[in-house]
Amino acid sequence: MNEFIRSLQSEWMKTRRTAASWLVVIGAFFIPLIMIVISAVKADKLPARYQSPVFWQNHFANSWQIMAFLLLPMGVILATSLITQIEYRNNTWKQLHATPQRFSVIFFAKLTVIILMMLQFFLLFNLGIYFSGIIPLLFSKAAQYPPQVFPVAFFLKTNLYFFIDCLPIIALQYLVSLQFKNFMVPLGTGIALLVAATFAIQWKYGYIVPYTYAALNYFQLRSSAVQPGPAVNIHLLAVGYFALFIITSFIFYINKKDKC
């Protein structure tokens, strides 16, 4: 366990000043910033909006719309590929593999860093959502702080679902990124599957494509009448896909003949 913690600390240090670490911060505050700008432009509509008994649910759902369909999967694709690219770009795989660590420790420490970065993103994004709900009150004297008690349980549960739903993307991107030195391969794979997911979403069996889950979760969040959502539990499917991709990725990684 100590070996894993030390490896994790080492892997986390490598993310300093990387594009992936900036992507997490910028990506998390991008939508909240836009929400604030929209509120500032439509300041006259704020009083009515803030009086809604489900203000936070609406605000949360609005914030997640583009995020669930495009930015979250795209961000996960980019961040995962960029983290593994740190070793390829710096020609450091050989140095890393010549350290006295189990290969399994290296594999899971790197994966944990990606997952921790995702958690960091979720934390910052939710902070952004909260502040993008509060800051517009400065633009309108007529608008009042929402009377609704902040729905902590709703936030936690929905976040947890979105998080679980992006796990298969992390796992598949990790698998591809570890196998190919060329950054364009994991990126291209990710974009292609994301495009496929946008089509698959309207298909009855769209849930087969694991990149659809964040969007499908959004439909469930909105209780969409247009898109009622699949009859299966997509979160369980997401966990299943995640396990499948990670096991496959681990087998490929361990059996790689050349660890340079």
């Binding site: 240090m13 000043r17 050989k94 140095q95 010549a98 003949k257 050349d258």
Partner: protein, 304 residues
């Protein structure tokens, strides 16, 4: 019996069945030595060193380091080994201290060690400068610091002087000598230029096309140099001289007005000279033409 820090037995490797890269390599690196692993580009040096570090999947033969099998004791062996394989392996977006600190966590060495190795390679003043802003020489020195961080007993350096200017090469040589003498570290250093490491190494291994052609001390290589030297006779009558030499049961060839003979002991040289003079053949000069080590190396590598 010599105490070997690293030993390989019948080490063979191929990327595909019909394309062998290494063939029956038996390396023997004595403890405390500086072992020059020489060979032209593509000879199999890097593949051998990658196998020794466990970076390539082992196929045939055995690798023993510190008296233990690499396959069964990989982590224990690597904890006492430092390496620089080809180009520097550094995180360019981090500083020198950050590069070392992240490895310090893995090796569990004291934090002071980071400062010590930076002092060792004279890189203490780099501060917040990112590695991407370093010159190649600085990167190579930092790579040595990385390799030295865990106070290794064995240092494996693959072409550490690649891309360095003459001053950089001299600095690197002095640094490695210092590490070997002061800290007793066994060093394996590969190169494709004998002249580059001739002044550094105590032992030499020459590899070409995947086969080890020579292995021994630098003194043994020098002996071979003497053995391969030629005696040059300048005489007034090469035709008669050639006949007299052959009558003595020795071999000689005439080239450019000179007679060339394989190096032999002093008594035989005196005998040849005496017989030539006795038979009225004037002898103007007897010289030894010594092949330099580079020529020996080229001769060795051209044999295969």
């Amino acid at each position: 019996m010599a105490n070997y820090c690293l030993q390989t037995q019948a080490l063979s490797y191929s990327f595909s069945p019909d394309h062998p890269i290494l063939n029956n390599i038996n390396l023997q690196v004595e403890e405390g030595s500086i072992y020059g692993f020489l060979g032209p580009n593509g000879a199999g040096k890097t593949t051998t060193l990658r196998l020794v570090l466990g970076l390539l999947k082992h196929q045939q033969g055995s690798i023993t380091i510190f008296g233990k099998s690499l396959i069964e004791n990989r982590r224990e062996i690597l904890s006492k080994t430092g390496a620089l394989i080809e180009s520097p392996s550094l995180y360019n977006h981090l500083t020198a201290i950050e590069n070392l600190s992240l490895l310090q966590k893995i090796y569990q060495c004291p934090k002071e060690r980071v400062k010590q190795v930076l002092e060792l390679v004279s890189l203490t003043e780099t501060g917040n400068k990112k590695v991407s802003q370093f010159s190649l020489g600085m990167k190579q020195r930092l790579s040595i610091a990385v390799a030295m961080l865990n106070s290794p007993s064995l240092l494996i350096l693959d072409e550490p002087t690649n891309g360095l200017d003459p001053n950089g090469i001299i600095e690197m040589r002095e640094l490695l000598k210092h590490i070997n003498r002061q800290q007793g570290v066994t060093i394996i250093v590969s190169s494709h230029l004998l002249s580059e490491i001739e002044k550094l190494v105590t032992h030499v291994g020459v590899i070409n096309k995947g086969s080890l052609l020579f292995q021994g001390t630098l003194a043994e290589l020098h002996d071979r140099q003497v053995q391969q030297s030629m005696l040059v006779f300048e005489t007034g009558n090469d035709v008669t001289a050639l006949r007299i030499i052959r009558d003595l049961g020795l071999e000689a060839t005439a080239e450019n007005g000179k007679l060339l003979m394989r190096m032999m002991d002093k008594e035989k040289i005196a005998l040849v000279n005496e017989q030539l003079v006795k038979n009225a053949v004037p002898v103007y000069a007897i010289n030894m033409h010594k092949n330099d080590l580079e020529t020996i190396f080229i001769n060795l590598t051209n044999k295969v």
